[in-house]
Each structure stands twice: as structure tokens, then as C-alpha cells.
């Protein structure tokens, strides 16, 4: 049986990754899962300078999901390189660093440092506003997205570049194509979907930030649809995520077109979710006589 997959030249021992922001810096889960068993660890989004994040409450449970407005709290590039990366390097797994910035310059600076540090891949979180351009989201303006990807691609020498697409666009196919055309080695999707919840007794928003990102099983059908559309629009590999709780959910994403999958909110519910999904995948392959997991990708039968 062959579980290996390739993401834009980067070989993963298996297709089970963690979703950024849901697995801390790896350390937090090392007492629950053998990190060596994971295809890749994607760490919490890193910015050039440390970020405080939003005031609480930052999370609120919703039917089959949760809203979060963490506000991109992170230790910043310097501390990440000094304190977080060395720990991850002790494990025989791929390290993918999710990054965010307010300008192309910031993205470039972070990417350059990560490239020098030898991380396996960079995942561009493009859901941040571009401060210099009046706060327009990189991820919702195709021209800006293209410039960002090209700009980062030109800087990095060895690191594989993954673009994490925003789901708040009318046509995901267009953005997938932009990522491909601009030199992204792979795309990942979906990020959380903006949402809101109100306490009717106090008439207050349940999140201090008022709105937040929805994740968990509630968003899975949206995610599967977007992975399917993106897969059909581009040739670069697609990393699928959004509400994956178990192996069956993961398999749905492979069939829709994902080459690898990432586990997010499920980690909170079951800290062993990642390795559980991996063993479920193996069982499914045995049962269905699948020799290579990669043969499952895009195997949707539409009759």
C-alpha cells in the first residue's frame, strides 16, 4: 500500500496534515499523537511581528461548528524561528508554515527567512487585509493575489509555495487559476467562512469581535464543493480541508479532487483525530483494494 503523496514537489509520507491554527505549533499535541506519523504539520499563522490577537470571547460554538475570532495571535517570525521551529525539526515530518502579512513586503520578508531556515513549505494565508491598499483582502482581489504570489515566489529558493484560498469569493475557480498562473505550487482550501452569532437575551454578539470564521462539520459540504471546483480548474495539487472529522470525511475530499487533506477543528474534539483518520484511510484502502492513495484523487464518478 502506498500512502505517499506529492504536493508541488514536496513528498509527504501520507496525505494527512494539520490545518493552520488548530494544532498550535505542534508541541501542544505531541503528548497525544506521534507527530512522526503525520504527513505534515501546518503551524499557526506567523506574522513578521508578534500579534496580540482579539479580545475575548474569541470563540463560540454553533450547530455542528464553531466561530473563531482569534485575531491571528502569534509569536512572530523571530520567536518562531528561535523557539518553535527547533522543536518541530526533531520530528520526521514535513513542516509547513502558514504566514500572513499586511503588505507584499511583509510576506516577502517572512518567506525569505523561512526559506533560509529550510522549512518544507510556506502556506500563504491571504485572508488578511492589505493595509497599504486600503485594506482590500489579498485573497478576494485576483490582481493582488497574483502579485502577492509572484512576489513571494521570486524570493523563495527551495521552499514549496502553497496558497490558501479564501472561500469568500464568488468563483473559486478563477482564484485557483490565478494561484496556478502566478507560480503557486499548490493550493489549499477552505479557510473559515465568515459568520456571526447573537445571544438573544442580551442582544450581544457572542464574539467580542462581532463576526468570526466558521469551521467544523457545518462547513464541510461547502468545502467539498470548492475543492471539487478548484480541482477541475487547475493542474496543481489541491489540499482539502473544512469539517473533516473522520476518515470517511477525508475520503470525500480525495474523491472530490484533494491530493492531501488537513484536519482542523476535529483536533479540538479529539486530539488524536489526525492519526485516527490515517488508520481509517488505510482500512478503507484495504477494503476497496486501493494500492495508491493518489489514485483516489479526483475519482468522482458522475456517471
Amino acid at each position: 500500500m502506498n500512502l505517499e503523496v506529492e504536493i508541488g514537489g514536496l513528498k509527504l509520507r501520507n496525505p494527512v496534515m494539520t490545518a493552520s491554527g488548530t494544532f498550535g505549533y505542534g508541541e501542544e499535541y505531541s503528548g497525544f499523537v506521534d507527530l512522526n506519523q503525520l504527513g505534515a504539520i501546518v503551524v499557526k499563522g506567523i506574522s513578521l511581528k508578534p500579534m496580540q490577537g482579539n479580545p475575548p470571547p474569541r470563540i463560540s460554538e454553533t450547530p455542528c461548528g464553531m466561530l473563531n475570532a482569534i485575531g491571528l495571535q502569534n509569536v512572530g517570525l523571530e520567536l518562531f524561528l528561535k523557539e518553535k521551529l527547533p522543536f518541530l525539526r526533531k520530528f520526521d515530518t514535513r513542516v509547513i508554515v502558514n504566514i500572513l502579512g499586511n503588505s507584499l513586503k511583509e510576506y516577502q520578508k517572512i518567506s525569505e527567512a523561512l526559506d533560509d531556515a529550510g522549512v518544507d513549505a510556506i502556506e500563504l494565508n491571504v485572508s488578511c487585509p492589505n493595509v497599504q491598499q486600503g485594506g482590500i483582502m489579498f485573497g478576494t482581489d485576483r490582481k493582488m493575489l497574483g502579485q502577492l504570489i509572484t512576489g513571494v515566489k521570486n524570493i523563495v529558493k527551495n521552499t514549496v509555495l502553497i496558497t490558501k484560498l479564501s472561500p469568500t469569493v464568488s468563483d473559486i475557480k478563477e482564484f485557483a487559476k490565478t494561484a496556478e498562473d502566478s507560480g503557486s505550487d499548490a493550493i489549499s482550501l477552505i479557510n473559515t467562512i465568515p459568520g456571526m452569532s447573537i445571544d438573544i437575551n442580551t442582544r450581544r454578539p457572542r464574539l467580542k469581535n462581532i463576526t468570526g470564521g466558521l469551521s467544523g462539520p457545518a462547513i464541510r459540504p461547502v468545502a467539498v464543493r470548492m475543492v471539487y471546483e478548484a480541482y477541475n480548474a487547475v493542474k496543481i495539487p489541491v489540499i482539502g480541508m473544512g469539517g473533516i472529522m473522520n476518515a470517511d470525511d477525508a475520503i470525500e475530499f480525495f474523491i472530490a479532487g484533494a491530493s492531501a487533506i488537513a484536519v482542523g477543528t476535529a483536533n479540538f474534539v479529539n486530539p488524536e483525530a489526525t492519526t485516527g483518520i490515517l488508520s481509517g484511510l488505510i482500512k478503507y484502502m484495504e477494503r476497496e483494494n486501493i494500492e495508491r492513495i493518489s489514485s483516489l484523487t479526483g475519482s468522482l464518478d458522475i456517471g
Binding site: 491554527g21 501542544e28 474569541r58 455542528c64 479540538f268 479529539n270 488524536e272
Partner: protein, 269 residues
């Protein structure tokens, strides 16, 4: 071994109309829980609504497991309330920082508001006949373990909102009365408190005005319980401002990992 495990319900005992005492049996308790630590309990029996685990304090250790005292509040705790003897619950724990052990010679004042007693009971139990206990609740029927608390403490002071037992009003008021009658110098006292945040804020102020160190256990919305999601943020004075006494600067700490027990002087109330 992992702190993620399954435990069997031995008993899920109603204490009144909306509080229950859950006794869990763990074949191999991974870590001995300490007073003030908590567990994330899966309240769901299949399906994803509710999705997240619920945080509950260690109430009391037993010979082969532990107990949780809980209030039925919403969907999750209602589901928990419906679970039966023999049912299995998956959980993570013990988690978080415990109450620091009081040095010998110091007299702990332990203050609980409502179900906050769940968190401090095992602390009181760990230092028999050393602490004064202040316990407030809405009414008499929401006060639990009074006999045990009487026996475990040097003094038990009660208040209820409706005056059905003890002094009428807030437990902070009872604490105020205590200062008039106290027998020791103030620096010998040490405060431990768990309850609604406004009460804890009040206690923090009292403690600081009497120059008494206070440890409070906080609650915040949690997703992971293990420091990964950054959901459970609480504002604390940044190390610099603690030094300078300025409250301008703050940093966020995680209730699940840096807490739930904090030095009250660190918190920006």
C-alpha cells in the same frame, strides 16, 4: 501515555433540580489530578451537535477515579445530565495549573460562588482544618457538601442571595465582615477563589487592599483545552507593567494552559 482517555460513569447523582455529581471510574488514571485542574468532557454520544468538549473542574479524587460537580446550564450539560451509570465518556485531562499549595503557617481563605465550589473543594480537602471557607449561592438548595465543609474547615461562612441560609447577599460581604473578627495578621492569609467573574474581581480588589495574595480560577470559552486554539484568552498585565504598576500594557494568556488558576494581581479585571 496520553491524557485523552475514556472513563466509565459509576454514578450521575442529582443533587437538586439543576446540579449533579458525576462519579467517574478510570482504569488507568494517567496523571493524578491536582486541586484546581480541570477536564474536557465529551458530552456527545455521536453526532456533532454540540461539537466541542465541556470544561469541568476536578471536584474530588476517589480511589479509582474522580468526581465532577456540575450545574446543568445549556445543551451540553443537559446531555451530560442524561448520561447513565455504565456509559463511557471520552475526556482530556487533567489540564491546567492547579492551586499552589499554601505554605505551612499560612491560613487560606477559600471563597466559592455557586458551582465555583466544584473547583475549590478538593483544595479544602487537601488541607484539612486549615482553611476558612466562604461559600455563597443563590439559595440554600444550591449549597452542597455543607457537612463535609464544616468538618474540613476551621470555619464555614455561608451566604445566599435570597437569605434562605447564612447571611443574605453576596459572599464578598461575608468576607468583609470577617476582617473585623480575624485573629491573625493579614499577611498570614492567602485567598483562593472560584466563582462568577464579577465576584472574583471584587475579591481581587479586597485582596489587594488588604495586601493579601489571592489565587482565582477563571473561566473562558474553550475549544481545545490544551493551549492550541488560542480561544481562551484572558488579559493579564504584561511583565513590564506589573513592574511599573501601569495597566496600560497587557498580554493575553491562555486560561486552559497558563490558568485556570491565576494570581489575581496579574489579571486586568
Amino acid at each position: 501515555m496520553s491524557r485523552y482517555f475514556r472513563a466509565k460513569i459509576r454514578e450521575n447523582l442529582p443533587l437538586n433540580r439543576n446540579h449533579k455529581l458525576l462519579t467517574l471510574e478510570t482504569s488507568s488514571p494517567e496523571n493524578e489530578p491536582l486541586p484546581g485542574q480541570f477536564y474536557m468532557l465529551g458530552v456527545n454520544r455521536g453526532g456533532y451537535d454540540p461539537l466541542l468538549k465541556r470544561a469541568f473542574s476536578l471536584f474530588r479524587k476517589t480511589s479509582d477515579g474522580f468526581q465532577i460537580l456540575y450545574r446543568i446550564k445549556g445543551k451540553g450539560t443537559s446531555l451530560l445530565g442524561g448520561m447513565k451509570e455504565g456509559d463511557m465518556i471520552d475526556m482530556i485531562g487533567p489540564l491546567g495549573r492547579s492551586y499552589p499549595v499554601p505554605e505551612t503557617g499560612r491560613t487560606p481563605l477559600v471563597i466559592a460562588g455557586g458551582v465555583g465550589m466544584a473547583s475549590v473543594f478538593s483544595l479544602i480537602e487537601s488541607i484539612p482544618e486549615r482553611s476558612y471557607v466562604f461559600y455563597g449561592a443563590k439559595s440554600k438548595d444550591e449549597l452542597f457538601m455543607l457537612d463535609e465543609l464544616g468538618a474540613l474547615s476551621k470555619g464555614l461562612y455561608i451566604s445566599t442571595d435570597d437569605g434562605s441560609l447564612g447571611k443574605k447577599g453576596n459572599i464578598a460581604g461575608v468576607l468583609e465582615d470577617f476582617w473585623g473578627r480575624k485573629h491573625e495578621t493579614e499577611d498570614q492569609y492567602l485567598i483562593y477563589a472560584c466563582g462568577p467573574k464579577p465576584l472574583l474581581g471584587l475579591i481581587a480588589r479586597t485582596a489587594s487592599s488588604h495586601s493579601i495574595q489571592a489565587f482565582v480560577s477563571l473561566e473562558e470559552q474553550m475549544a481545545c483545552g490544551i493551549g492550541a486554539c488560542l480561544g481562551c484568552a484572558v488579559r493579564v498585565k504584561s511583565p513590564v507593567s506589573v513592574l511599573q504598576g501601569s495597566e496600560q500594557d497587557f498580554i493575553y494568556r491562555k486560561v486552559c494552559k497558563d490558568g485556570p488558576v491565576f494570581d489575581a494581581a496579574e489579571i486586568l479585571w
